[in-house]
């Protein structure tokens, strides 16, 4: 049975929302010009026409409230959105008979993802890039995203007309103090990762030290393992090697790589202070 693209969109919406998506959208596969060659939708799926993006599974309010910092560090929730991405791909193929490729969440060559899911989320209108880095949904703020490349011509959802960042509260703070909550919490000029400039209420410049941020955000997981392994092998003394291998840090790294099995962040401070979606991080 042939269904119209609009009807297909409604069925897709029902499925992803039932599956837990807080946000979702459809980007044009040809709109990924800023991605390098080899990392665009058609490079992954010949004939690609759309990229379906689903967003959700942020840390819960209780995760944010926990005084045990290791909790939020290890309580990864992004895996759930990847499950929904996989399910979405299967749904599109089974229901509509078109190719649908789940974009793997890991990295390909040179530590670069197979497709920038952040760019996909922006192009699909799920959110906009923030001073702090993550794509912010206008209502929920930080969400995790998963993307599916498909040959099915779903109707497009345009990028946001109004960016989610800076929020009005941040614009006020910028005008009064020349900084925002996120740039204050992690200032580039003071050993942090973030800097930027707002003009007429719009973000006009953003500076982000990705390498510094990664070294702090991913202190466990794969980069932590590599660093730990390097340290172990640099030790000549077997006792020192043993001490590193059985250390809390290395043990936790192995846990994070295997059981938790996802990219885990150990900082979150720029998101903790972000006003976008703050109401969802705060419960009675």
């Amino acid at each position: 049975m042939t269904v119209s693209a609009a009807a297909a969109r409604d069925r897709l919406a029902a499925m992803v929302e039932r599956g837990g998506a807080l946000a979702w959208g459809v980007a044009d596969a040809d709109a990924f010009d800023e991605a390098p060659e080899g990392f665009r939708p058609a490079d992954l799926l010949p004939g690609a026409r759309r990229v379906v993006v689903v967003g959700g599974s942020p840390p819960r309010a209780a995760d944010w409230a926990s005084p045990v910092h290791e909790h939020l560090e290890t309580m990864g929730t992004s895996d759930r959105i990847n499950s929904l991405g996989l399910k979405t791909a299967k749904f599109i193929e089974a229901e509509f008979g078109y190719y649908a490729l789940f974009v793997p969440p890991g990295v390909r060559r040179g530590n670069r993802p197979f497709l920038s899911v952040a760019l996909a989320a922006e192009l699909a209108g799920c959110g906009s890039r923030s001073l702090a880095g993550p794509v912010l949904h206008p209502e929920y703020g930080l969400l995790f995203y998963s993307a599916v490349i498909t040959t099915y011509p779903f109707p497009l959802t345009p990028p946001l007309a109004e960016p989610a960042c800076p929020a009005p509260a941040c614009v006020d703070m910028w005008e009064a103090e020349g900084e925002t909550p996120c740039t204050r919490v992690c200032p580039l000029g003071d050993g942090g990762c973030l800097d930027g400039r707002i003009e007429d209420g719009r973000l006009v410049e953003r500076r982000y030290d990705a390498a510094r941020c990664t070294s702090r955000v991913y202190t466990h997981w794969i980069p932590g393992f590599q660093k730990g392994l390097e340290l172990v092998l640099d030790q000549d003394d077997p006792e020192a090697r043993k001490m590193v291998l059985y250390s809390s840090h290395f043990t936790k790294t192995l846990w994070s790589m295997t059981y938790a099995a996802q990219s885990q962040g150990q900082c979150w401070e720029c998101m903790r202070v972000c006003p976008v979606g703050a109401e969802f991080r705060d419960k009675a």
Binding site: P104, I222, F225, E230, L233, S263
Partner: protein, 215 residues
């Protein structure tokens, strides 16, 4: 495709089924162990379970169990004390399919054997009898594993052997942070399953082809 594994999803299904049997029917239900505990052999063969349950039959292509409609599927199983009525093995072999028999009669090979011939450095060999049934099947598992799982636990072990044997600190560092080792670690964590990097014998298999050909 090299790294997008799906085989954990049916484990989730089996987990739910076990819960259902224990809660709703009051019988024991155990998620069957599918990972090796020693050597390469799991404590219980999912392949044998799938064949006995009538889901498919062994194929010329690496003994993969082919479902008559879908071809390649991943399997998970549960063991239960609930007295369910057993299904039966399929009466008709799924492999070889009719086009494969025709190809074999003309060319002496099948699509999967042609894509990975043992005699030319590949992993597969086989023969069909006069009735079009498999009379001989050969699969070089070691060779196949080294090609189809070049990321994953095996590649981490291999890389660690090389890294730990490297005496030069700078070279060791470049090996630790290389794309290959990073991707290997990613396969262990993000993708969290045994991932395969070949699939060529399945790519050419006519069984389930219509399920793989979409718009």
């Amino acid at each position: 495709m090299e790294i997008t594994g799906y085989d954990f999803r049916e484990n989730v299904a089996v987990h739910v089924m076990c819960d259902y049997i224990e809660r709703e029917h009051g019988h024991r239900a155990l998620q069957a162990p599918s990972l090796p505990t020693a050597g390469h052999n799991p404590p219980m063969s999912m392949m044998l379970a799938a064949v006995l349950a009538g889901l498919g039959t062994r194929s010329l292509a690496a003994n993969i169990i082919l479902h008559p409609r879908y071809g390649l599927l991943y399997y998970a199983a549960l063991v239960t004390t609930l007295d369910l009525e057993p299904d039966h093995p399929l009466e008709e072999d799924v492999c070889p399919s009719k086009p494969c028999i025709q190809m074999y009669e003309k060319l002496g090979t099948t699509p999967c054997l042609a894509s990975c011939p043992k005699g030319e450095g590949g992993c597969l060999d086989g023969a069909l009898d006069e009735d079009g049934r498999i009379s001989y099947s050969y699969y070089d598992r070691e060779r196949c594993t080294s090609r189809s799982m070049n990321f994953g636990i095996g590649s981490i072990q291999k890389a660690l052997v090389q890294i730990t044997a490297e005496g030069d600190r700078e070279r060791r560092q470049s090996m630790i942070y290389s794309d290959f080792f990073t991707q290997s670690l990613s396969s262990l964590s993000y993708y969290k399953e045994s991932v395969a990097q070949c699939f060529e014998c399945m790519r050419v298999c006519p069984v389930g082809m219509h399920e793989r050909r979409l718009q």
